[in-house]
C-alpha cells in the first residue's frame, strides 16, 4: 500500500469538500496554480501529507496534461470515484474559465483601439519571456545528467527551431529518452 492509499483510507473528504477545495485552487491561482494547490491540499484540507503529495505530483509529472488537472482527476477518483474526479476538475476550471471569458470579452470590446493592440503586443512579448525564464529556472534546478541535457536540446531544436510537427518529434524523442533513462537509472 502506498502513501496515497494510506491517506485515502484515513479520511475521505465529501464531494462538497472536494468541490470547494478545488474551486479555491482555481480561484487563487493567479500566475500559476502549483503553490496554491499544495497549500490547500496539504496544509488547509489535510487531504494528503507531504510525502503523499510529492508522490501524487511525481505521477502527474509523468503524464501529459496540466499537473493540477491531473491531480484533480486522481484525488477526486481516489476519494469519491469518477464522480469525484469530475467534481474536482469542474471546480478547478470553473472560476478560471469565467474570468477568462470576462478578460476575453474585455479584449474584444477594446480590440479596435490601437492602444489596446499595442498593450497586448507588449503583454505577448512579456508572456514569452515568462515561459523562457520559467523553463530556464526549472532547467537550472533539475540537476540533469548529460544525456538529459541532450534530450532537452533536441526537443528545443526539433520543435522550436526546425518547427517540426510535434507528434513525430515526440515519437522519436520519448522512446530515446526512455531508453536513456532506464540505462541511466541502472547505473545509479
Amino acid at each position: 500500500m502506498n502513501a496515497l492509499e494510506t491517506a485515502a483510507s484515513a479520511s475521505r473528504p465529501s464531494l462538497p469538500n472536494l468541490f470547494t477545495g478545488f474551486l479555491k485552487i482555481g480561484l487563487m491561482g493567479f500566475g500559476g496554480v502549483g503553490p496554491v494547490a499544495r497549500h490547500i491540499i496539504v496544509a488547509e484540507r489535510n487531504w494528503l501529507d507531504d510525502r503523499a503529495y510529492a508522490e501524487l505530483m511525481g505521477l502527474c509529472q509523468a503524464l501529459p496534461g496540466a499537473n493540477t488537472v491531473n491531480a484533480a482527476v486522481m484525488l477526486g477518483d481516489r476519494f469519491r470515484g469518477a464522480a469525484g474526479a469530475l467534481t474536482c476538475v469542474f471546480a478547478l476550471m470553473a472560476m478560471p474559465l469565467l474570468s477568462l471569458v470576462a478578460i476575453a470579452n474585455l479584449y474584444e470590446a477594446v480590440s479596435d483601439h490601437p492602444l489596446a493592440q499595442v498593450a497586448l503586443t507588449g503583454a505577448a512579448a512579456s508572456a514569452a519571456g515568462l515561459i523562457l525564464g520559467t523553463a530556464a529556472r526549472l532547467l537550472a534546478k533539475a540537476d540533469l545528467a548529460r544525456w538529459a541535457w541532450v534530450m532537452a536540446a533536441a526537443a528545443f531544436l526539433a520543435v522550436g527551431v526546425l518547427r517540426l510537427p510535434m507528434l513525430p518529434s515526440l515519437l522519436v524523442l520519448v522512446p530515446v529518452g526512455l531508453v536513456a533513462a532506464s540505462l541511466g537509472a541502472r547505473r545509479v
Binding site: 496534461g65 482527476v73 478560471p96 471569458v101 497586448l120 505577448a124 507528434l167 515526440l170
Partner: protein, 179 residues
C-alpha cells in the same frame, strides 16, 4: 461550417492534449503550427496576444485551448476546445491512477519522469521562442521578452508583476513614438 470548426477543435486539441508533457506550456509551437500555419484561423500576432491573455487569467495553463476556441467560435468554441484539451489526458490520468493501485509502478513512474522532464523543459523553451517570434513586437519587444525572462529566472515574484511592467514599458515606448 459551424460543425466543421467544432470537429476541427476537437481533433486538434484532443490530440494536443496527449502531447502536452508538463502541461500546455509545452505545446505552444504545435498549437501555433496547426491554428496559424495549417488552418489559418488567425495571424501570428493575434495568436501571441491570445496566449498572453491565457497567461494573465488564473488557473491551469490548458486555457490556451479555451481562448483559441473562444476566438474562433465564441463561448461554445471555448467549451468544446477546453473539453477536448482536458478529456484525453484526464482519462489517461484516471486509468494510470487506477492501474497503479494494483501494480506497484514506482520504478516505471520514476523512469518515465526521468525521461520526460528534460523533453518537457526543452519543449517549454521552444514554446517561449515561438511565442516571442509570433508576438512580432520588434527589437524592443525582444528586449522586453529578455528582461521578463531574466526577472522570472532570478526572482520568485508573481508572474503578473513582470508581465504588467513589460506591458506598460512597451506601451510607453510606443507612446513616445519609438516602435
Amino acid at each position: 461550417m459551424e460543425r466543421g470548426i467544432f470537429g476541427q477543435l476537437i481533433l486538434t486539441f484532443g490530440t494536443i492534449s496527449l502531447m502536452a508533457i508538463g502541461g500546455a506550456n509545452a505545446v505552444v509551437p504545435e498549437v501555433h503550427r496547426q491554428i496559424v500555419e495549417i488552418l489559418g484561423w488567425m495571424d501570428a500576432p493575434t495568436f501571441a496576444r491570445l496566449f498572453a491573455i491565457a497567461q494573465t487569467a488564473p488557473g491551469p495553463n490548458v486555457m490556451l485551448a479555451s481562448i483559441v476556441g473562444w476566438h474562433v467560435a465564441g463561448t461554445s468554441g471555448l467549451l468544446v476546445a477546453t473539453g477536448a484539451m482536458l478529456l484525453p489526458s484526464s482519462v489517461l490520468a484516471l486509468a494510470c491512477s487506477r492501474g497503479l493501485q494494483r501494480f506497484s509502478g514506482n520504478r516505471v513512474v520514476r523512469i518515465v519522469t526521468l525521461a520526460l522532464v528534460p523533453i518537457a523543459l526543452g519543449l517549454m523553451l521552444a514554446s517561449g521562442a515561438v511565442a516571442a517570434l509570433a508576438a512580432d513586437a520588434g527589437l524592443f519587444g525582444f528586449a522586453i521578452t529578455a528582461a521578463t525572462a531574466v526577472v522570472t529566472y532570478r526572482s520568485k515574484v508573481n508572474p503578473l508583476v513582470p508581465m504588467a511592467v513589460g506591458t506598460l514599458a512597451y506601451t510607453a515606448v510606443w507612446a513616445a513614438g519609438l516602435v
